[in-house]
């Protein structure tokens, strides 16, 4: 028996990479689940091609899953992997540029044939030349060992080699002291009706674990102790799941039945899938014929007193624009979820970007103000969804809720809230006549609440409040058609004032531990994690930096201008070419500096930290 050493680490970044069909997302998910229940803080970054099965063994077909876990609170999925697991030559080639020298590479040699190497433009095997000399390489025939381990199951070669991801998972689980019990249970449930496949996968998983335990190739295993977290119930959650739960919770908290109209689109479809499971919460999901019908049906349901929601990505928002405008004019509650992806046009369907901000704010005809809320982390999608519903219902307005591909598919531990602590949302349906007409009381559908400027929401079925509304300009108060110039100006300004006056938006909070920072780094949306990690690095290096993050993009917190003006320099990192920066400059006349990348990937903390330190140095 070899003597095994256990070394303690405070954090590790592992990247699993393989062919699209190799099950890398599943492997990553399972490792994440075990890591989450072990109690580490974690953050994940799945990265996969838009093609479902690109040709096997090619660079475009490589799919990966990166996981960062630590014994302290972390903010990002990690800049670079400490460990790369590459299941074929293409996965090695595609990911090698991201792997820092000295890192560990576990590579499956099973497919390192001259033909496979040639397919990706390698003339010699990197395992035999000097390509990998700077790394700690474990070159193993994972496929071969897996097939040997599964010999008793008499599976076809193809079926047996499919379990190699479970072998790799078992091996990595051993290396990092993760339990495999949860995955065994998972496999039992997933393949309940296919016993051989079930048993083969479990056998491969255990074989991988035992391989680490018994062979001399792996002399050291690692321990990352649990992170200290506030007491409570936790679970691991992706942004799309958290957003779905937020909508279900908001429906419950408002007493409104949830109606989702949606058309499948990456990376938002999982919200449709998730909500379609929750019929016993009274959730109706409607897979429409197109994006326009999806929002139309949601708006129709809102007219009938439901919580109308539509979910999409950037191209879908473009199609829904006219109906959003109708909702602005009708002044009905509606939530439009935009899970942003790389654009323009089809762009990068499976990659992240935050370049729809100006589209959701201004991508409609006429003066068409719509509140915008943006989630900042996967678990924050839950609370951001509730906030979007609060504004929509209280102010009778469409609201855009922005997420993105990184939040949608990335995951982190979530401190599950007690449902008793969630805010209550009051629909306050109109039930009575509200105006003294000629000789009798009557109902004016556009008689506004003086405080919120919201109009009454009188739903069909309410006797005496029958009324007609439409997209034509309405007379202030009665809501009948009006082409009067002064009335139009009044209505345009009223709609704007209503959105500008959305209350309950907390002041922009600035985190500046030294209190002496002259540089403010301001972000919005999913850059919260990378910016936070970068700011920490800069501070660790002795710099004074302040950080703030916008959750409400329209209207912005009341103190935003004051905050911006109180720093010598404001740096605004965005995954676009400067959309928030444009708004801030226009609105507050502050000469903010942008840092802009559109690579379809989240910012790296190191890269941002360098930019921050450069900016501090220039002051």
């Amino acid at each position: 028996m070899t003597v095994k050493h256990v070394r303690e680490l405070d954090r590790v970044v592992i990247r699993f990479a393989g062919d699209s069909g190799d099950g890398m997302q599943l492997t990553g998910d399972r490792f994440t689940a075990e890591t989450a229940s072990f109690g580490n803080d974690l953050s994940t970054l799945p990265n996969f091609p838009a093609e479902i099965r690109a040709p096997a063994g090619t660079l475009p077909g490589v799919s990966s899953f990166q996981l960062h876990f630590a014994n302290y609170d972390i903010l990002t999925p990690g800049d670079a992997p400490d460990v790369l697991v590459a299941m074929n030559p293409a996965a090695l080639k595609a990911n090698l540029p991201d792997v820092p020298k000295g890192a560990t590479i576990i590579v499956d040699t099973g497919d390192f044939t001259p033909r496979a190497l040639k397919k990706i433009g390698w003339t010699t095997s990197p395992l035999e030349d000097n390509t990998l000399s700077a790394y700690k390489v474990h070159a193993l025939d994972l496929s071969g060992i897996t097939m040997e381990a599964l010999a008793p199951f008499e599976l076809s070669r193809k079926d047996a080699s499919r379990s190699k991801n479970m072998f790799a998972l078992g091996l990595l689980s051993w290396m990092y002291g993760r339990s495999i019990d949860g995955t065994v249970k998972f496999l039992r449930e997933k393949f309940a009706s296919r016993e051989t496949i079930r048993d083969a996968n479990i056998a491969a998983l255990k074989a991988g674990w035992n391989y680490g335990e018994t062979t001399e190739d792996f002399a050291v295993s690692y321990e990352v102790k649990p992170a200290a977290m506030p007491s409570g119930t936790y679970r691991n959650i992706t942004g799309n799941l958290a957003l779905s739960y937020g909508l279900v919770a908001a429906a419950r908290q408002s007493g409104l039945p949830l109606f989702l109209g949606s058309y499948p689109i990456t990376p938002a479809s999982d919200i449709l899938h998730e909500l379609s499971k929750h019929k016993r919460f009274g959730v109706r999901t409607f897979q429409a014929e197109d994006e326009v019908a999806a929002i139309g049906a949601a708006l129709g349901a809102s007219f009938g007193g439901a919580l109308g929601v539509t979910t999409t990505s950037g191209p879908g928002v473009a199609l829904k624009g006219e109906t959003v405008g109708l909702a602005v004019s009708l002044e009905l509650p509606l939530v439009i979820v935009d899970v942003q992806r790389g654009g323009p046009s089809t762009g990068l369907p499976t990659k992240t970007e935050q370049a729809d901000l100006l589209q959701v704010l201004y991508g409609r005809n006429g003066e068409s103000p719509v509140p915008v809320v943006a989630a900042s982390s996967p678990s924050d999608c839950f609370h951001a969804a509730i906030e979007a519903v609060r504004i929509a219902v209280t102010y009778r307005t469409p609201v855009f809720l922005l997420s993105d591909g990184y939040l949608a598919n990335g995951s982190e531990p979530w401190h599950v809230p007690d449902v008793e602590s969630l805010p209550v949302i009051h629909p306050n349906f109109a039930t009575d006549l509200n105006h003294d007409g000629e000789g009798e009381r009557d109902f004016w559908p556009y008689l506004r609440d003086p405080e919120t400027l919201a109009r009454p929401w009188a739903v069909p079925g309410t006797p005496g409040l029958e009324h007609r509304i439409g997209g034509i300009e309405k007379l202030d108060g009665p809501g009948t058609i009006s082409y009067d110039p002064n009335n139009h100006e009044r209505m345009v300004r009223l709609r704007q004032a209503k959105v500008d006056g959305v209350a309950g938006i907390p002041d922009l909070e600035v985190e500046d531990p030294s209190g002496a920072a002259r540089l403010l780094v301001l972000g919005w949306g999913s850059t919260y994690g990378p910016i936070g990690a970068a700011v920490r690095r800069a501070r660790k290096a002795g710099h004074q930096v302040a950080q703030a993050h916008l959750r409400h993009l329209n209207p912005m917190p009341a103190n935003t201008g004051d905050v911006l003006r109180s720093y010598d320099r404001v740096l605004v990192p965005e995954m676009n070419l400067g959309q928030l920066a444009l708004l801030l400059r226009g609105k507050y006349l502050v000469d903010v500096v942008g840092y802009n990348r559109v690579r379809g990937l989240p910012f790296k903390a190191e890269e941002l930290a360098d930019v921050i330190m450069e900016e501090v140095g220039a002051l």
Partner: protein, 352 residues
């Protein structure tokens, strides 16, 4: 709200009724009607306002949803709930409303441009899903509100502002289109025939699922006389075919013409009224073949041999009922949703 009373009209099951006598006036809003004098829309409005009191529904449970176009102003004139929406989208908006509110009687008002051009996709999918809606398609074969361009039902060669040398496109036949889109109720009627219009509207309202009623409607400004051949006393008997359930398909002043199936081609042809092979009309047949063949009888240009009446009327579960059924089934099987349990999930862990 009063409790729902079974009217014996499946399309309105679940919609509350009233014993209080209603009149046309109850359904007339205070808004001035602004269609051109002489427009066919007036007749349809009067027919709808005149026939709704007979249903005895609570007025607040009736909703009219329209798109854009002359006819889409209709909801403003009805003293019910209503929404004048955007071009072509009324079927989609009405789908969300009807699917989430089974206690409402939902009507869609649309035109040939609204329903068949910009909104073609929503129309066919509403029909396919069989959402519980009554769609009134005002077909005047022209764009009126934009002042006289050809529409998707205009005859080929139509000279309009946008087609000075004649239009190039073959027209849609709305009845054929609806039948092809798996519609469960398809009918055609004419604005000027109040009695026929009312009887078709009654049947459409009674049908559960999507009812599509094509109404030949005259635009006296931009396409006057488009249906003259079907209305004129001198010509109509020779060109108009009135479909009646269970009756032989005959037309002509003395029913001297009939319609039969050509035994060798299978298609329909005009024959003598007393031909032993004259078709007997059955709108309730599961197979839509005969209904479709009847819809193809009319000449797409002149409209000669136009059948009016109910082409198809079959039972198929309505979308909203199926959707509600799944919600009930899920709740019956697993109980009402427990939000805290949902949020906690199966893989949660506790700290402290």
């Amino acid at each position: 709200m009063t409790a729902p009373v079974e009217l014996g009209l499946p399309g309105l099951a679940g919609v509350p009724t009233t014993d209080v006598k209603q009149t046309k006036k109850d359904f007339t809003s205070d808004q001035e009607v602004r269609w051109c004098p002489g427009c066919g829309d007036y007749a349809v409005l009067a027919a709808v306002q005149g026939f709704l009191p007979d249903l005895g529904l609570e007025r607040e449970n009736i909703v009219f949803v329209s798109g854009i176009g002359c006819s889409s102003r209709f909801p403003y004139y009805m003293n019910t709930y209503g929404m004048h929406s955007i071009h072509g989208r009324a079927p989609a908006i009405a789908t969300g409303l009807a699917a989430s509110r089974p206690d409402l009687s939902v009507w869609v008002i649309t035109g040939d441009g609204d329903a068949l051009s910009i909104g073609g996709n929503h129309l066919i999918h509403a029909l396919r899903r069989n959402v519980n809606l009554t769609i009134l398609l005002f077909n005047n074969r022209i764009y009126g509100l934009t002042k006289g361009q050809y529409s998707p039902t205009s005859e080929q060669g139509k000279v309009t502002k946008s087609t000075p040398m004649g239009s190039l496109e073959a027209p849609f036949n709305p009845v054929s289109l609806a039948l092809g889109a798996e519609a469960t109720f398809v009918a055609r009627t004419i604005d000027s025939d109040r009695q026929h219009l009312t009887s078709v509207l009654s049947a459409a309202a009674a049908h559960r699922g999507t009812s599509l009623v094509e109404i030949y409607q005259n635009c006296n400004i931009f396409n006057d006389g488009a249906f003259e051949i079907l209305k004129n006393r001198d010509s109509r008997d020779e060109v108009l075919i009135r479909l009646e359930q269970g009756a032989p398909v005959r037309f002509g002043a003395d029913a001297q013409h009939g319609v039969r199936r050509n035994p060798s081609t299978g298609s329909l042809e005009v024959c003598e009224g007393d031909d032993p092979g004259v078709l007997v009309h059955d709108a309730t047949a599961d197979d839509p073949t005969q209904a479709f063949a009847l819809s193809r009888l009319a000449d797409p240009g002149t409209l000669a041999r136009s059948p009016i009446g109910i082409f198809r009327q079959v039972d198929r579960p309505a979308y909203g009922d199926l959707m509600a059924g799944q919600l009930d089934e899920a709740t019956a099987k697993h109980g009402e949703g427990d939000l805290q349990a949902l949020l906690n999930g199966k893989d949660s862990w506790t700290v402290g």
